[in-house]
Symmetry: C2
Subunit: 486 residues, 2 copies
């Protein structure tokens, strides 16, 4: 019925169609001869398209992530679950028919939370302060409270303020619990930058509090979300400093307490809290990096490492931090293995142990690479969450230009950001020998909602976002492995 | 303790910090004189930074979206809720001290679902087929079944196959219910393109089924998610065709039924289903577009429209489709109102009625604009979800270049994609008079998980992602309103 075609066309254009901005699923066939004149390999556009097709249809990676998250779960360094994760990932790699799969032994710290923490405001009829339980989590590495402690709590606006207290002012904090109220700055567009500008509150805050004689240290969780989930993360005592218990409050609890303390300050009526933390540090434990390798067809001695970290905090499943990085790295091997021709250089997938509280796996990997005099040309890490990829952070302004030349190949996959930036904690020690360090840059908006908190679970990882990240990594890895970075 | 500084530094660099890729919250102060030599306005970098700061700190837009979604809810054209939404949004705009707020009356279709649909496979001991309820939803505009109908169901692979049936083949489908199994193609990187390539199955499928004498039409929901939520959406009968009931199956139900039918075909044992749909089309209803305006300081007769659509499907809260577009458009006015200087041209926020099943509000708005001989230089729509913005789709290749010149201003906000593409359904009729049409392009991965399904609820909108979209729209709107697009 010809006369009815127009309304249909109009309606096909309705309902949010973006017909004009199609990134189609086809690419023109095109083959090129390689420099060695032996292997005929498809043009990079074709290879990158086939990598993405393969990732988006029938990849096993999301189911593997589910197993790591739901069937194993939290895997803090030194825990039984961390060992189970090592064994599971080794099984996954073993099943892939790679050129080599092995474990690298490494001694890791062993911190345990013990029974869940408890923190409450002590009610006071005279002050008209209600008893209220606060949501807290001990920071990783903190000492416990040795039973329940009671103390006045006082607020300080920022780590800088705490650091710069005059001797006279410092007296006010002696024997008390210090609460640094400093929030992450929501004005940063990349939430990672907001976190970076604030993370020393968590890592170092307890040391400054100890110096002014405080009995304990609390901070507002490092997140831009407003909810009841406290976020843990590493803290480090100075070697010769006093060790006081350190914990993070959920943002809702922090907001509540902050308001209460402002009022208490005005009324000159102190607020007291009770705090109990049962955590402790046990002797180091033997653990492992898990390694799988695809040898290059022409320059096998030149190695490209792709990786994430296998350990996680203990509060949740370590889904985005960094289960996604691990399974994306494994997926890189699968995607490249499925190509028509194997690339020139060796690709090694490394699942690092102990990123969260010591980076011992990272150091061990670089140490062994150096001992063996291996030639690591580049390393690519995914440790910023399994969200839609936006590009890559390249930690060298000269070689960045080589990667940027490939940007037109990446743009059909919405990878527009190839910029100077931080590679990653697990690959950082390789940088000392000149290895080019690169970090996958996913969209950052949701990462710190879940980072180190009990909401970092499998359900919060979106399958396509996660797989597109893996395909982005495989695309860059393929380009470096086939064409080099000189 | 100096000797301890290094480990701290190392650890501050750990845990996913991207210190190197900071997009800082400051911009250098810099003011420029405008062409009129009257108003001193800050440089665009400063304006865009201040728009983003304002959006990210203390915006009321997310709370307004919550009200629209949770306190009002679904707002299908012609429903009581659609009227409540009109009144609420008018109140919001009225409270903003704009230059003008008004309603544009428009008659809209009124389709009602009635009691929820029912669909089940009829069990059959001989065939060893189990009775099983399938998740379905009537398509918007469909007729009902007039009680419960029973029929054999047969599968067709695609709309194209259905369209091209030979007369002989067509006979096989007479009196039966046709199920088109065609899925969205997961290989498209932008999910909108996958939807666009498949949406005619929903819009037109029932007509082709009617032509071969079918009794009913089912399709696989237009989504890339695999779950139990069927997705509705508009379908349109040919004027002189037979009207048969049309519904969508959840992807899980579609997968189940498809497998069953493959087996049944092999065994030559037909499958029967029962279907009941209680929907009907009632007489048109009076409704409204909601309009709020900020007049330009120098060229008030030149108008830039920013908008989204206020109606939604009835299954959920229309959070991403298109509550976010509406509240982002209102937020554009607030953000621009808060600037130091009002831009030269007029900015009009329009909340269109009836995008989903008729686009009557869109047509009415363009019609009145033409009657009044208004000068609409550009229109910007947000109707692709409240996810992290990635750029803009500009529906004119010449004027695209003007917008692309501003791209360096947008990149600090991760808006890298300024490309040719579809503007939006609500602004489309303005295009006939030469208005430049632009669509906000957010990340597309999660949109079709929720689109037209019962999961399109407030909880699935992330506050920062949504606000960054509003700030992106305000940034482009400001540039066009201040600097023009010639």
């Amino acid at each position: 019925m010809k006369k009815n075609t127009l309304p249909f066309l109009i309606f096909v254009l309705c309902n949010g169609l973006f017909l004009f901005s199609c990134s189609t699923a086809e690419a023109p066939p095109n083959y090129t001869q390689t420099s060695d004149n032996k292997t005929e390999i498809p043009a990079p556009e074709i290879v990158l398209r086939s990598i993405h097709d393969d990732a988006l249809i029938g990849s096993p990676a999301y189911a593997q992530l589910r197993y790591l998250c739901k069937d194993i779960g939290p895997r803090l360094s030194g825990s039984k679950n961390a060992q189970k994760a090592v064994e599971y990932m080794q099984r996954v790699l073993d099943s892939m028919n790679l050129d080599s799969v092995y474990l690298q032994p490494v001694m890791v710290p062993h911190w345990e939370r013990g029974e869940k923490e408890f923190c409450q405001i002590i009610g006071n009829d005279k002050n008209k302060i209600n008893q209220k339980v606060l949501d807290i989590t001990a920071l990783g590495g903190s000492v416990g409270t040795d039973g329940r402690i009671k103390s006045e709590i006082v607020a300080v606006n920022s780590l800088e303020d705490l650091e710069n207290l005059s001797k006279k002012e410092a007296k006010k904090y002696e024997g008390k619990i210090i609460f640094v109220t400093q929030p992450m700055n929501a004005k940063f567009i990349n939430t990672g930058s907001a976190y970076g500008a604030c993370s020393s509150v968590r890592v170092r805050g307890a040391n400054y509090a100890a110096k002014v004689g405080a009995k304990g240290f609390l901070l507002r969780s490092l997140t831009l979300a407003t909810d009841n989930h406290p976020h843990t993360g590493v803290m480090i005592y100075e070697e010769d400093g006093r060790k006081i218990p350190a914990a993070a409050l959920s943002t809702n609890s922090a907001n509540y307490l902050e308001k209460l303390l402002v009022k208490a300050e005005k009324d000159k009526k102190p607020v007291e809290i009770e705090l109990q933390m049962n955590c402790e540090t046990l002797p180091d434990v033997l653990s492992y990096n898990v390694v799988g390798e695809l040898r290059g067809r022409e320059k096998p001695e030149e190695i490209i490492t792709v990786g994430g970290h296998l350990d996680s905090w203990d509060l949740a499943e370590g889904a985005h931090d960094d289960g996604t990085g691990c399974l994306q790295s494994v997926e890189v091997l699968r995607l490249i293995q499925n190509l028509e021709a194997r690339p020139k250089r060796t690709i090694r997938c490394v699942l690092f142990m102990n990123e969260e509280n010591g980076a011992r796996g990272a150091k061990k990997y670089a140490e062994i690479a150096k001992e063996k005099n291996e030639n690591h040309i580049a390393a690519l890490e995914s440790d910023s969450g399994g969200f839609t990829p936006r590009g890559f952070r390249v930690q060298d302004s000269t070689r960045l230009k080589v990667i940027q030349k490939w940007q037109p190949l990446f743009e059909p996959y919405n990878l527009h950001k190839v910029e100077y930036g931080y590679g990653g904690t697990d690959i950082r020690p390789l940088g000392d020998s000149g290895t080019l360090l690169i970090g996958l840059e996913p969209d950052s908006q949701r990462y710190f909602d879940h980072h180190h908190a009990e909401t970092d679970v499998f359900e919060n990882v979106h399958e396509r976002e996660f797989l597109l990240g893996a395909a982005a990594m495989a695309s860059l890895t393929y380009m470096m492995a086939e064409y080099g970075i000189e």
